[in-house]
Symmetry: C2
Subunit: 312 residues, 2 copies
Amino acid sequence: VSLARFDEARRVAIFGGTHGNEMSGVTLVNLWVKNGSEIQRKMVDTKPFITNPRAVEKCTRYVDTDLNRAFTPENLSALGEGDLPYEVQRAQEINRIFGPKGSPEAYDVIFDLHNTTSNMGCTLILESSKDYFNLQMMNYIKVTDIRLKSLLKASIQLVECCFTSVNIVLCDWFIAGLEVGPQPQGVLRSNIFEAMRVILKHALDFIELFNEGVEFPTCTVEVFRVLERIDYPRDANGNIIAMVHPNLQDGDWEPLNPGDPMFLTFDGKTLHYQGSGTIYPTFINEAAYYEKQQAFVTTRRETLVASAIRKA
Amino acid sequence: VSLARFDEARRVAIFGGTHGNEMSGVTLVNLWVKNGSEIQRKMVDTKPFITNPRAVEKCTRYVDTDLNRAFTPENLSALGEGDLPYEVQRAQEINRIFGPKGSPEAYDVIFDLHNTTSNMGCTLILESSKDYFNLQMMNYIKVTDIRLKSLLKASIQLVECCFTSVNIVLCDWFIAGLEVGPQPQGVLRSNIFEAMRVILKHALDFIELFNEGVEFPTCTVEVFRVLERIDYPRDANGNIIAMVHPNLQDGDWEPLNPGDPMFLTFDGKTLHYQGSGTIYPTFINEAAYYEKQQAFVTTRRETLVASAIRKA
């Protein structure tokens, strides 16, 4: 079993308001901009940052286009300045401040704080199962924490998927997309707020320990790997004709077996899962994914071995 | 004990999308526009109607201003047509179609379908405790129904308050503002959808029975009367500094006694209810009321005697 080595994580950013109506991150980042003592750690420069201030002001997901899908190479190199969609301008600006990837000025670690209306508990979104830093951090949070289970359904889950998000292009190592729910858009619930705060505390502690030279030994971590996106059933005109079935609603991370109820049509018919094996749905009935034609995503449960890590 | 007499209710409207991101009413009304057999009753003309189509299209509460606060005499008589805010134009148009109050063309009964992010179950909003038709209808639903309790926390509650809403000026008798929750904005949950549908079914059955000459005898009804609106604690700059306390969150309709926890500040202090008597908070942590500076409303529980009613 190998040992992965990384440089110290000196520059850490915490993004809130990438979606302006996801209130836990917006509120925490605004608090920390005023008083950052809680997020300070030895030898780490931690910067809290509101990524989409106009969307935050309007308490809406975005103004022109989804910022969390705007970090494409095309957008980042687009010319036009003030004529570009607001979030494309913002992506360029954020890339100048926190990136660009590979440059000496790029941040080492970015936390991007999100809420979901789905009953997902705390979820760290990974780009790759080779991301040992994230895997070790997640294992550290899970082992260390004693509070999350009292606040949420699930202590912390890890999901691997590949949005075209901040993740791909921005920072040098990794960005931890953090989803905490269930929480309606525009609402701040104390348990969700507290859970996000606790996770950030542990994550920053982990970074501090790592910087001090602590070696985190090989560990096994449970991960949900995204398989596909399932749309709502629709009629020939594209109109939705069914809802998430009450048996599936709020059942994020729980097994869905062949023959289990999946949707309930408006005229009362149950539609069943027709697949051949057990899957684990998540992002079930997320408000923001109606426009993305997605009722939930399916995942497969896997156990990964994370290589040991230590400072280079 | 007296007997109140009303003319038959021949013209009934069902409004969805008064707030464009409250999905149960939007979805039900869209279904019924396509196929209204479910809402047809003998000798009743029932019209399903999307009140704010632009807000529905954008899945937002409103475009320019809150339609549910736009039915003021000033707005309804405002000149300017296309230069007026969109919802003011809409209020005028709706008033022409379904009103104006006191005219022979005015509708008799309007149901206005809403969702809330608060854990309120089903709630009928009354303008006046003298509104015997609504009181009797609510009693009928409560007595008749056997399904609501399996779908929601509370079968059905009645709250008396006085928004400047559709209620005051539009239709001849009454308008039943119906709130069902908890449901995030932009999300359709099957239990909330089904609860709203069941209530509409019973309400239309009630109207049919009433029109057929059935007398509904005097009854007693429990009502929550709105006392005051409680804002979130704020700093000198008007910024919110606390959340609804976890003990109060989701506790709509439950007693709040002097000394009970009410808010939790971002630095962890509990703020207690300082009043002198028991109150019943509701609309707790409703997403749309942050902009109205309202964390919840307080109510007093009362028992009303509803006069018997019969067709004139």
